[in-house]
């Protein structure tokens, strides 16, 4: 069951093929949102990073899930405020999410429960790092400036607090709060 669950349907699915872009309206928010990204250069940057930091020891084995799909899911998670499970589930049923992930055709196969498992997305995220994220942001900024959509001439700089969301009530945190109250 293990490897079968990881199989992506577009490698060899059954049933009629559906063209994804036919189902997503031109003015759909996610379609317009996804079209702004320079996906080719961003996916190439991620591939370069993975090839350098996590080289494949063997050429055997099943091809991995496309970098573009995983990268899009990670960014869509932020845009749609979803968890790993929710976004992977939406990829299976939501044509707009499929379009954003760059899937052109899907096979209508109701026996296929997953396209990408949440575990695969978590594994992909564990391979990202600070340098790569800075490079991705730089690629997006460069593309926007090159198209003449934004200008770096007048800028604003500021900081903001980001709270630790999964903070547990540990002795150290409780101690700090108690000290503040007393």
């Amino acid at each position: 069951m293990g490897i079968v669950r990881h199989l992506q349907h577009w490698l060899g699915g059954s049933g009629p093929a559906l063209v994804v872009s036919d189902f997503v309206p031109d003015d759909h928010y996610l379609r317009q949102w996804a079209d702004t990204f320079p996906w080719a250069s961003m996916a190439a940057a991620v591939d370069r990073h993975l090839a350098t930091h996590f080289p494949k020891e063997t050429k055997r084995g099943r091809p991995s899930v496309s970098t573009r799909v995983l990268l899009t899911l990670e960014i869509l998670k932020a845009e749609l405020a979803c968890s790993d499970e929710q976004i992977c589930s939406r990829l299976r049923t939501d044509f707009a999410v499929m379009y954003a992930c760059g899937l052109e055709r899907v096979h209508a196969d109701r026996h296929q429960s997953h396209f990408v498992l949440p575990e695969v997305l978590a594994q992909f995220r564990s391979r990202l790092d600070e340098t790569l994220m800075a490079e991705l942001l730089q690629i997006q900024s460069t593309a926007a400036m090159e198209e003449g959509l934004v200008s770096p001439s007048h800028l604003v700089v500021d900081t903001f607090p980001s709270e630790q969301g999964s903070q547990r009530v540990t002795d150290a945190t409780t101690l700090y709060k108690a000290k503040k109250k007393s």
Binding site: S141, E146, P152, H154, T159, P161, Q164, T170, Y176
Partner: protein, 343 residues
């Protein structure tokens, strides 16, 4: 962690000892929780008493981690990368105990704590963020710095240092990020893109921040020297004063000074950026560690930027943004189409 390593090494005695310590630590914390629940508040005395118990029980964590590390080195059944990963975890476990113990001793004896105090043993880069919290609970977390375009709020750079450093230290890395993005442009148009002005709040006031920017010909508008409100329009005398303050090769034109002043620092604008990032999970970190925080904030920024570009392409901008874009010589996309719709 030590008991997990012992389980992998098939070392029953080490595993037994580690599990025993783990159980004792859990027991102490459970007692602490019950006591506080009964009182409906946290008492400093209970916290300190519990802390002493935890430190006493946790004393054996260091020797156990060392023992596990020795056994791990001798073990040949594990692969090299697995061994390295487990060694790193063990090293981290041993180091954390020492640091927490040191911090705790200093706190009990009433000495002031250093700036970077540990509030979470699993992520030492988390610090209390007191900024903007005069009458509210202090947040534990990180303090990302962003640099954004004044017109639409497109974020060009992110800097997320460990701990809670001075705001002024954010400027050089953020400027470098923008420079890198400009440098990577393959087909630069005319006029050549460059940073003309930078706006910030009072935290970016020091001369150590402003002088290097002036030397590069970057106006530091919106970084006031006093608490007076910032002017939106400048008089000819003020323009001349700004021009005199800049060195020869980078003297700005009157138009540049006027535009920079009009685009000066705006708190509502920055707040709107922060709110948009908050909607995308950029202000509520759930991923573990410093690397996780960078990934989460970066993905929120990438998503935010894409949404901003969508609004620009659809010309769904505020009047202020449209005015700024006219000043920046940025034309709206599909101007003829927009005119047709209006007519």
């Amino acid at each position: 962690m030590v008991d997990q390593v012992a389980l992998r090494l098939h070392h029953p005695s080490l595993q037994r000892d580690a599990q025993k310590v783990h159980q004792q630590l859990k027991k102490v914390m459970r007692t602490f929780g019950r006591q506080c629940r009964g009182q409906h508040r946290t008492l400093v005395q209970w916290v300190r008493q519990t802390e002493r118990q935890l430190l006493e029980v946790g004393q054996s964590v260091g020797p156990l981690a060392l023992c596990a590390a020795l056994h791990l080195q001798e073990d040949s059944s594990l692969e090299n990368h697995q061994q390295q990963r487990l060694q790193a975890h063990l090293r981290q476990a041993a180091q954390h105990y020492e640091q927490i113990e040191q911090q705790s001793r200093r706190l009990i004896h009433g000495h002031p704590l250093p700036h970077a105090k540990i509030v979470n043993p699993y992520d030492r880069t988390i610090t209390p963020i007191v900024k903007g919290k005069s009458n509210a609970p202090v947040q534990f977390g990180k303090k990302p710095g962003i640099i954004a375009e004044m017109a639409t709020g497109f974020i060009l750079g992110l800097h997320l240092p460990p701990g809670n450093p001075d705001d002024a230290s954010y400027v050089p890395p953020l400027i470098e990020a923008v420079d890198a993005a400009i440098k990577a442009i393959v087909h630069p148009g005319k006029p050549k893109l460059k940073i003309q002005s930078l706006a910030g709040d009072l935290a970016f006031r020091p001369a150590s921040v402003r002088d290097p920017l002036h030397a590069r010909g970057i106006l530091t508008q919106g970084i006031p020297q006093t608490t007076d409100p910032l002017p939106r329009t400048v008089t000819p005398q003020q323009v001349r004063a700004v021009q005199r303050s800049m060195s020869f090769p980078h003297i700005p034109s009157a138009h540049q000074v006027q535009v920079a002043t009009a685009c000066g620092y705006s708190r509502p604008f920055v707040e709107s950026l922060i709110t948009q990032l908050a909607c995308r999970g950029g202000t509520h970190l759930k991923y573990k560690g410093h690397r996780g925080a960078v990934i989460q904030v970066s993905t929120a920024i990438l998503a935010h930027n894409a949404a901003t570009l969508t609004r620009i392409q659809q010309n769904q901008l505020t009047q202020r943004a449209q005015r700024c874009r006219r000043w920046f010589r940025l034309k709206p996309s599909k101007p003829l189409e927009n005119n047709n719709q209006k007519n």
